[in-house]
Amino acid sequence: MTLALSGKEIAGKLEEQFPGGILDSGADSVTIKSDLLLSVASFLKDTKDLEFDYLTAITAVDYSRYFELVYQLTSLKHNHSLIIKTQLYDRNHASLPSVSGLWRGADFQEREIYDLLGIKFDGHPNMKRIFLWEDFQGHPLRKDYL
Amino acid sequence: MAIYSPGLSVLSQNAALPPDWPGGYWLHWLVFVVIIMTFVLASIMGFIYFERRGIGRFQVRLGPNRTGPFGILQPVADAIKVLLKEDIVPAKGDRIVHWLAPVVAFVPVLLIFAVVPFGGGAILADLNIGILYVVAVSSVTVIGVFMAGWASNNKYSLLGAMRDVAQVVSYEIPLLLSIVGVVLLTGSLSMIKIVAAQDLPFILLQPLGFLIFFMAALAEINRTPFDLLEAESEIVAGFHTEYSGMKFAMFYLVEYAEVLAISAIITTLFLGGWRGPLLPPFVWFLIKVFGVFFFIFWIRSTIPRLRIDQVMAFAWKALLPLALLNLVITGIEIVALPAISPWVIILINLGVLAVLVVVWSRFFKLGGGRVAV
């Protein structure tokens, strides 16, 4: 059974490493500040006993005041999982560092989020639209599209 | 040379002269041209029908069975459909070359039938360089294919045409060398004399030569497993992607005419031509040609296809050395063992075949295609 690690425990561990960066923690998720994303991600990937080597999915949700990005991480070795969330408040210039350097599986998923929601990822090797054509205006999955 | 039964048969000596008809030579020519054209076109229609039904049965389905009783009129329906289609030439393609390519591809294949003995002296022209003429003429077809690939102004077509040229040129050599084995046994290049010399069909006396010839011939006529140039799953339709209407029909005809020609050549060289007990010669000829054709499309429906570098490797590293060895062994047998009963030779040859095939399949690996980029 994949153990969903307790958000509170991990939040405690992360707070030691990155003081002040943890905004919230739930039963199986931890919400962090968006500029700490890369450092937290590499910490989670490289620390022994955590070793999240598999990025299951990246999702972005448009709550009208903010965007929330949800990273689902899994460790194949230890068979446990964790959810990392971060929030972006600037709708017009939403951007975030890309994790495709750590997990290549983020490549197409980040392009999809840019295409449909308009969140740019810095450091992504090929930040282009993926499903819609290049000249398309707007980002369809936003709540204020149309 | 005592391997074949002594003396050429009386038949072959007479057939070298034109018949004693009113009008003489030119009437003979006209009659045979008509016979050959009819035979070729009718056989192609028959082959198309049999192949589609046969492959359908191999694939647990019926073949075409709607047009006419048992689907017999299917090739006719195909021909009518293709004739009625619009003839499209790509805008930037070379018009003259585009128009000439099917012609250049089809005419040489028809020319091959001039020296195929249909039975009992019935042949258009008994050239005394028969088989050499066949090989020379059949190489011209590939020029037509390359012209087609070039004139289509299409990268896929060019890719397909290049593959085809490379393949055909590479497989010419094992083809020739295996023919030389037969020629050594006969003592002549003439097709009629080759058939006359086969009291025992040469497939028994030259098993390795037969296998090499068969595989090289399959590669020459671009049939599975060497049909990568029209591999529809890779480069759409290869060199005839941009052809439609009658020109496409010509290429289609070329493919089947080549199969027919190769079946006829194999029958003549290795299976004893029109010779056989009881039935009239022409019927035996048809039976044998059809048998070879059945085998060819049986292979088509069963085996996957090879990649171009594997095809080339097979020609140069496997077939060519084997063909040379075959030649050497045949030569040694003729010179050093002149008066032995043919059955001993057959046993020796089969043994040599078994040993060589086993040894070569250990040595020869068809893989390794990755290039450092």
Partner: protein, 373 residues
């Protein structure tokens, strides 16, 4: 960037477009490849030709109305899509599914896995060039499965069978005897295909060692399903994170060792055998009871979010569902295995030839409905 060669030949790379309309790209998928001769030096996948905006459409439909939308995602494995979606809804709503419904769901999911793998293996062999014979044999088996599924849901391709809280209707009387007959005969068919093809020289030459995906790259690129298992990682959601009633049944997880096309092919064939094994066990233990829990017509879920994933024939299919207590989902995100498996396509194909690119792409087994959504 060009191919390193020892000869100082001046060659010029050219760009070729494979797709979107192509006999072999498993749907509307386009690859812009840069070729140096026949060797691939760059590949850029372009998709979006089948983008229908399913995620946005789902936000305007009730939870039950979304189920037919999910059918059209991976249209060759509709039951699996339905299952993953209704599991997500049930997880968030806290609905328990009756036992009989769970068992029926497992039967449908495993039948669907066999059907999808038959097409995947058949299409792969078709790409290798085996003209259509293997795929037609496999379609013959798939027809039997489609008949079974039609008995249950009335549909042959997009079943719309699962509902929130169970399945939509119970199985008819003739289903179990037909299923028993199918399960008895299927292993012999799988053996027949194995026997015909697993040791075929040409198939081995075309696919062994071709398109290797190393283990680390597979994990790092978030590959899942047979692609991940063929690279040597023993990770299957049915064992690692069991859902429905999979923890009650015995089955093995086939893995490969090298991660080439041949391994992916073998993993799929073995998975079919294991699916038959699971179905046998499920049939024996099928309990009586209801097939659907009582659920409100306009279902409202508590505010929150959840993620549910299953092992679909193509990999890990997950649904991320966010609800705001209205009758429609607030956000539905689909983790599509085919899209994520494509991440490593470029690295798998660099340095190989055009013919291999098609084979490697076919062995990943993607479905454009899922990639584009």
């Amino acid at each position: 960037m060009a191919v390193k060669t020892e000869l100082k030949l001046k060659t010029e790379p050219f760009v070729l477009n494979i797709g979107p309309v192509h006999p072999s790209t498993h749907g509307v998928f386009r690859m812009r490849v840069t070729l140096d001769g026949e060797v691939l030096i760059d590949l850029e996948p372009v998709f979006g030709y089948l983008h229908r905006g399913i995620e946005k459409l789902a936000e305007g439909r009730t939870y039950t109305q979304v189920i037919p939308l999910t059918d059209r995602l991976d249209y060759l494995a509709s039951m699996s899509n339905n299952l993953a979606y209704v599991m997500a809804v049930e997880k968030l709503a806290g609905i328990t599914v009756p036992e009989r419904a769970e068992y029926l769901r497992v039967i449908m999911a495993e039948l669907q896995r066999i059907a999808s793998h038959l097409i995947a293996v058949g299409a792969f062999l078709n790409d290798c060039g085996a003209f259509m014979t293997p795929i037609l044999y496999m379609i013959r088996e798939r027809e039997k499965i489609l008949d079974l599924l039609e008995m249950v849901s009335g549909q042959r391709l997009t079943y719309n069978y699962m509902r929130v809280g169970g399945v939509s209707q119970d199985i008819p009387g003739e289903f179990l005897p037909a299923l028993r007959k199918f399960v008895q005969r299927m292993p012999s068919y799988i053996d027949e295909y194995d026997q015909l093809l697993a040791e075929n020289e040409i198939l081995l030459a075309r696919s062994k060692g071709v398109g290797i995906l190393p283990k680390d790259m597979a994990i790092n690129a978030s590959a899942s399903g047979p692609v991940l298992r063929a690279s040597g990682v023993k990770w299957d959601i049915r064992k690692a994170d069991p859902y429905s009633v999979y923890d009650r049944f015995q089955f093995d997880i086939p893995t490969g060792s090298v991660g080439d096309c041949y391994d992916r092919y073998r993993v799929r064939v073995q998975e079919m055998r294991q699916s038959v094994r699971i179905i046998k066990q499920v049939m024996e233990g099928l309990p009586e009871g209801e097939v659907k829990a009582e659920v409100a017509h306009f279902l409202r879920l508590p505010v929150g979010e959840t993620y549910a994933h299953i092992e679909s024939p193509r990999g890990e299919l997950g649904f991320y569902l966010v609800s705001d207590n209205s009758i429609a989902p607030y956000r539905l995100h689909i983790r599509a295995p085919s899209l994520i498996n494509l991440t490593a396509l470029r690295d798998m194909t660099l340095g190989w030839k055009v013919a291999d690119v098609i084979i490697i792409f076919g062995s990943i087994d993607i479905n454009m409905g899922e990639v584009d959504r």
